[in-house]
Symmetry: C2
Subunit: 138 residues, 2 copies
DNA sequence: ATTGCATATGTTATGGTGTTACACAATAAA
DNA sequence: TTTATTGTGTAACACCATAACATATGCAAT
């Protein structure tokens, strides 16, 4: 598996920028169709225009897909490029997502899998719970 | 979050048994629609019949949903009832899934989240890679 | 037995998510 | 200019999941 660096990215195309900006402006994960709806006034009319932009942004490591939500977020952790496995903490109350890094998690999961003779290529780790802000408010 | 025991389950209904048996017989995760197709000869005709059975089986802890595949597997680990977080190792070559338990993983993820003032209620951990059998075959 | 309640079922229609196929445009080598 | 690569636009389709409504079944408590 290859870790990607966020430096020296090629300039994004128009559609890619529109989608990326939509995600960076959002305070919560967006589905592809939510992105589509938000960009209709900017000329985006079909799902494929969004999905193609997302594919590229995912490949560049600029956005991530949250499997448990069928949604996407902009990368928000500078350590992300140096790691293979990031953890997403999803608040069920306000829908905010924190992208967390952990030095030992990858080794931990790799060792667990190795005990079953399994070689890990990629990991999805998504936590559901309550964020600090929402816990304070409660 | 509540851990469930697999003992003393209520008897499954007809549809629940059909769906559960389909999953236990399968060698790989099944989508709801794949289950539906396999059960048409047994009188299952609509997606809801499958989804309702799956909801109950999920609640009983007899099956699990794999978020990254939009698919379902029968529980295959006896330690599952005693834990909140299980790990699914999905072979990208043969599609087999191993359900792994780890005593320390839950604490590990909890601590990582706590550093961000996040309280974990549930975790999704899905690994993609190559199983031992497929590695031997290669 | 009758009533009442909770759970399960059957069916239709609808909505949300993601891809295939094909045509065309822009960009960058060669 | 020719060629190859990448990006774009559109329509149609396939897959995943739920809403709404009607009916049936099992199991109390009277
Ligand atoms: Zn990231
Ligand atoms: Zn929150
Ligand atoms: Zn299990
Ligand atoms: Zn395999």
């Amino acid at each position: 598996m290859t870790a990607h660096s966020h430096t020296d990215q090629p300039a994004l195309t128009k559609n890619q920028s529109l989608v990326y900006d939509a995600l960076t402006d959002a305070k919560a994960p967006l589905s592809a169709y939510a992105i589509l709806d938000g960009l209709r006034e900017h000329g985006i009319r079909a799902p494929l225009q969004v999905y193609r932009a997302l594919d590229k942004l995912l490949e560049l490591g600029l956005v991530h897909r949250l499997e448990s939500l069928n949604s996407f977020v902009a990368c928000s952790n500078s350590e992300c490029g140096a790691r293979e496995t990031m953890v997403f903490a999803i608040c069920v109350k306000c829908n905010k997502v924190s992208e967390l890094a952990d030095d030992r998690l990858e080794a931990h999961l790799g060792a667990l899998a190795a005990a079953d003779h399994f070689t890990v290529h990629a990991a999805t780790v998504e936590l559901r719970g309550i964020c600090g802000q929402c816990r304070s408010d409660a």
